[in-house]
């Protein structure tokens, strides 16, 4: 069971949250200049690290904020969490 630290509500149990997927890739700046591979990678290739990954969780049964957390995919240790601006 994860304990996610909501900067607004404090440490809360995972059951109060809904998982929102990994942080989206950054959209390439000038899409008229980039090649197809860059565009396709942006659309389809997520980060899949054996280690810290950044992902979004929604504190739906709490304050309703979306958080971005950094969690280790090997241990579930949460290294960082912040409210999305």
């Amino acid at each position: 069971m994860l304990q996610i630290s909501c900067p607004f509500c404090g440490p809360r149990n995972e059951v109060e949250f809904v998982y929102g997927g990994p942080l989206k890739n950054r959209r390439p700046d000038d899409i008229s200049q980039i090649d197809d591979t860059t565009w396709i990678d942006y659309l389809t290739v997520p980060k899949n690290p054996l280690g810290p990954v950044q992902e979004r969780w929604w504190h739906v049964r709490g304050c309703g904020c979306w958080l971005t957390i950094t969690r280790d995919t090997r241990s579930h240790d949460i290294i960082e969490s912040e409210i999305e601006s």
């Binding site: 990994p22 389809t44 997520p46 899949n48 990954v53």
Partner: protein, 417 residues
């Protein structure tokens, strides 16, 4: 290869089972092979077997970081079925189910293959519509699916006493997939290993691939770095289920895969009470009863990306609560063991059997429910490696589909597999 039969059993019983020959050898690791297969799971071993049998390629090494058949092939809930959604997927799974049916004989190994129907317990109208759509698509490809009413459903699954008209999600109907089966998962790995070894393939356990190696001039693959030194080959197949990107990352090859944890648990053994595979897609649990009498139960995958091989308490609780809604009498069962495995899934949830941008490098990945796919997955990957062209069944599973943004969207029929 020593043939297994009633006579060999009797003969070996007389000598106190001391004289069985080893099922496979442990030869020294050579410097060079024609083909290296990374991962001795179901898919890797089946690929090695079909390379040798169908294509006469026997100078093959299967490299396994742990022990043979210790990955997901030993961790799954053994459901074999072909009720997929898409025209590109169904023929592949139909072929795999067919290959499974003849496998015990072909490999001279008792897989305890048991055809027993999968029955979906449907509790919402969107799910019913989705499964009916599967039924019509399956009809086109010879994969049967049929609807039964609630009375018949309860007759066929006696402990299904929950989900009545007063409940949170009343049961609406059942959907039966008659060609579904279960079989002994370890035996799949062991039988392919034994048959591949018999044809000259080498299996090297405790041999972890740390890095892929590329030719410095033309960039093609030329081998792998392992914890036991460098091994060379012009063809390398990554068949590591769940850990694909950890290996392809070593040469900067980007693949549209994410890894997740899927888990399962079993109850204490009880008398036979369920003789079909029960799948409850709306509440997220599925189960079958093993030959030993244990109920084998699986739930939803853990939410975030994960490389863990245990079960998360919350996933466990969710699955148990869901199960008790429909099977209240199971409250008294003791749960004996629980475990998990790491699986990867592609951007469109369809598997990848493909060449890559690196010449000589092949991947077989994205096997979310890939136990059922072991025979056809190995069969088609061997074809691809041997001929450098796709088998027609896996032509749609090539990485090229992503280049054309032409996805084969294939969400699971069960919560997970």
């Amino acid at each position: 290869m020593q043939s297994y039969s009633i006579f060999s059993l009797a003969r070996n019983a007389l000598s106190g089972h001391q004289n069985w020959s080893k099922a496979w050898r442990s030869p020294p690791l050579k410097k060079r092979y024609d083909v290296i297969i990374i991962g001795a799971g179901g898919h890797g071993l089946a690929t090695a077997y079909y390379l040798a049998k169908n294509h006469g390629i026997t100078n093959v090494a299967v490299l396994e970081k742990g022990w043979l058949g210790g990955g997901n092939i030993a961790r799954n809930t053994v459901t074999i079925r072909s009720n997929y959604m898409r025209d590109e997927s169904i023929p592949f799974y139909v072929k795999s189910v067919k290959l499974y049916e003849g496998l015990t004989k072909e490999l001279n190994y008792n897989l305890m293959y048991s055809k027993r129907s999968m029955i979906d317990v449907v509790q919402t109208y969107p799910k019913l519509r989705e499964i009916k759509r599967r039924m019509f698509n399956g009809d086109l490809h010879g994969s049967a699916y049929e609807r039964i009413e609630v009375d018949e459903l309860r007759r066929r699954i006696p402990p299904l006493t929950g989900g009545g008209p007063e409940s949170r999600l009343p049961i609406l109907a059942g959907m039966v997939h008659p060609s579904a089966a279960v079989c002994r998962h370890d035996a799949v790995a062991w039988s392919y290993a034994r048959a591949a070894d018999d044809r000259g393939v080498e299996i090297h356990q405790n041999t972890e691939v740390l890095q892929l190696l590329r030719d410095s001039t033309d960039g093609s693959i030329n081998g792998v770095e392992t914890n036991r030194g460098t091994v060379y080959a012009d063809k390398v197949a990554v068949v590591v289920s769940g850990h694909t990107t950890s290996i392809t990352d070593t040469i900067g090859l980007k693949l549209p895969l994410k890894s997740f944890n899927l888990s399962a648990f079993v109850s204490e053994p009880v008398k036979p009470i369920i003789d079909v595979i029960v799948n409850c897609p709306d509440i997220g649990v599925y189960l079958n009863q093993s030959d030993k009498g244990e109920l084998v139960i699986g739930g939803a995958p853990d939410a975030g990306q994960s490389f863990r091989r245990d079960i998360k308490q919350q996933v466990f609780e969710d699955a148990v609560c869901s199960m008790l809604e429909l099977f209240p009498s199971f409250k008294r069962l003791k749960l004996m063991r629980q475990w998990g495995g790491t699986l990867d899934i592609a951007h469109d949830a369809t598997p990848i059997v493909s060449q890559t941008d690196v010449q000589g490098l092949y991947v077989s990945a994205g096997w979310w429910g890939g136990f059922k796919a072991v025979p056809a997955g190995g069969y088609t990957l061997a074809h691809l490696i041997a001929k450098n062209e796709q088998h027609e069944l896996t032509a749609p599973f090539s990485l090229n589909r992503f280049k054309r943004l032409d996805f084969i969207l294939e969400a699971g029929t069960t919560t997970a597999t």
